[in-house]
Structures are given as structure tokens and as C-alpha cells.
Amino acid sequence: MTHIKVNVDGTTYEDDVEPRLLLAHYLRDRLGLTGTPIGCDTSNCGACTVDLDGATVKSCSVLAVQADGGEVTTIQGLARDGEWTALQRAFHERHGLQCGYCTPGMIMAARDLLRENPRPTSDEVRQALEGNLCRCTGYQNIVRAVLAAADEESASGRDEAGPGAASGQQVTEEATA
């Protein structure tokens, strides 16, 4: 057993865990934070995406012991006093989900994009979400939702990304074909 101390969605937890325990299982089975689903369990689908120390990770591909001393934000840590963020509202209003299984990961990945690139193009949204699979929507409404959230955040001048938001320069990452 290894002793870890992790801050998750603003609450600090201390636990003795087996080194082999995946962060996804720690969040779900130990902390009861089942808002983060496990989809493929092969690092492909992105459903289990959370934020670790200010950057997205696939929580099925991180050990809980690797998060020791770190700060994790899950989909359940985004709303403030029960009020959704612009991204959460946009997914709801633009019908960016059907079954909803991929949605927590989609929103965490989109949030990561908007921190680095507050006004992405549609292509940039698609590239940023390349590690998140949705089997229902065909992605059209997901992309619309992210663009709508970007518009709203820019219009309101608010930074919904919260602490740890990067101010780094925008870099286009090509998804070459």
C-alpha cells in the first residue's frame, strides 16, 4: 500500500492505495465520484478524461499514486453553487449529447482547449477532441456546443476555465491524414 494525498474537486483526500490502482477506479470506487465514466479501458475513447494539475489526462491511463500531491478536477467539480459552466449549458442547449456517456470527457477536453485557445475554429475543436469518441451524435452538435460556449465566454469576458488556466500561445496541432 502507498499513502496518497489528492485534492479532488476542492476536497482533500488521504488514502492508502495499491500502486496498481488506476486513477479512474480511485475516483469512482473509492471516492464515489461516478460522474467520470470508464468507457473503453484502452486509452482510446476519452470518456474518463479529468484534469490533473491543470491538464487533461485519461484517468484510466494514470495510476492513483501518480496523482499523489496533485489536484484533480472532474466533471463534478465544474459547477459553482449548482450553476453550470458555459460549456455545460452549451452541451445541454445545443443537444451535444444523446446517451451522455462520453459527455464528461468531452466537456473536460473542450475545457482544456478553451483554456489554451479561447476562440477556436471548428477544425480546431475537432482536432482538440480527437481523443474523445462519441457513438451517438456524429459530433456536429458537440462542435457547435463548444463554439457556442467559446462565444459566450468571450462575450461575457469571464474565464470559466478557473485556476490553472494556461495563458500559453496558441499552437495548431495538426491531425494529419
Partner: protein, 284 residues
Amino acid sequence: MIPPAFEYARPGDVDEAVRALADAGEDGKVLAGGQSLLPLLRMRLAFPELVVDVGRVGELRGVREDGDALVIGAMTTHHDVVRDPLVRRHAGLLAEATATVADPAVRHRGTLGGSLAHADPAGDLPAVALALDAELVVAGPAGRRTMPAREFFVDYLQSALAPDELLVEVRIPKTDGWSFHYEKFHPVAQSWAIVGVAALVRRDDGRIAEARVGLTNMGSTPLRATAAEEALSGADGPEAVARAAEAAAEGTRPSQDLAASPEYRQHLARVLTRRAVLTATGWG
């Protein structure tokens, strides 16, 4: 899926990591970013007794200049490599190719050194390191040694690292003045390359004076397309490049899998070499 049980060590520096690996012998495994190792553990394809997590070894991160070379710490993440101004200025091919690795969340965790030490011929960065004539600095109980990339990749998922050695730095000769392109053929945005081609060209007086071509997934190790490189020397336009690219698959023995036959991979190597060089030269 739940990984098999293992002991866990989290050294604070390179010496401590090497000692842990030496104690574990054949049963130790280095955990870098974990984006290859954790899937292997989950699928129960690896059974290390000790996992040595070098994630907190600060000296292994970052990029610095050393004369005509860049020195990139083995634990520098893909995300940081892509954004690093020194890498973009002096090793642009590496930045370009790294941006195509997997997806943003994987690039946040995955590291340059981890990708190279994993020695997967389907990984993008081994062929890029080969094309860049990179050198790998390795720490072991007896000190450090440096080896060229062409000696580092031994076989499928097998590097020249001994069980008690740790890859600590990647030295990349600056390629200022060279143009480059990484051409990757993959059926799904985040998937492995069926074939990839890393091309670097140096031009003189309108002709290609020197070309380097690295091949991804064209055998059990990353390869250099030596015959095509020689044929490209002196090429003065798209027709000459197309002729030279016909030699790109010479001497290769690519694998058969669900994605492609060996013949198809060889076809792709020729086509992608042409495209990569034409894009690099701006002749395409």
C-alpha cells in the same frame, strides 16, 4: 481492467532511480508518462515486480541548447515538446511529428524518452529520432553512455537499454536550414500510423544536397530509407523526387496485420516518401 500487482518506487533523482532498477534486475520497469506502459499493464501483457516511477525526477525535464545540439530531457512531455521554442526553431520536425502523436490528453502525459524507450516501430517518434540523427544518453550503475539512435532500436519493443539503465537525455543536432515534413497515414485521428515517413532535406542551389528519410512501422524497428536518401541527392524537382521515392521501401520487411499487408505498406512508404519530400521542399 486491473493491472497485475507490483511494488512501486518513486525516486527523487537519477541515481536513486538507477539503484532501484539495479536492485530489481530483470523484474523492474520504468514508468515515464505511462501512456504505453499502463495499457500494457491493464491488458496484462507486462508483469513487472517493481515499477520505478521517474515522474518526480525534475532533472529529466526540459530543453536546453548545447552548442550545435538540443538536449531534451527524457521526461519532457509531448505537450511541452510541441510548444518549446527551442525545439520549434532547431528541431522543427520533432515538434511537427509530436503534434500528431495520439491526442491532447495523451500528449499531456506521454514523454519523448518514454516513446523512444518503448521502441515501438509503429510509434511516430522513433523514426523521427532516427531521421534527426539523435543520440540517446543513458544512465546506469557505471555512469553515463551515449549511443546513436540507429544503435538504440534493437527489435520490436526492444531497445539497447539494459535492465538497470535509464534513458535520461535525447541529444538532437540542430537542423537549422533544413526543411522537413512528417507524413502520417492513419485511418482514425488518434490511431497508430499504418506507415509514417519523416523527411528532412537540405537544399543547395535549388537542388537537394542531402536528404534523410525515417520510416515508421516498416519493420520490427524504425528504419532509414537509405536507398531513397541516396537517390534524392541532387534531385531538382518533383519528377526527380517521385523517381527517388520509388526506392523508399527497398530492403524493408514490414509486418502483416489487420490494417495492412506488407505489400500495401511498401506501396505506402513510396507514396508517403514522395509526399513528405515534396511538402518539405515546397515542390508539391
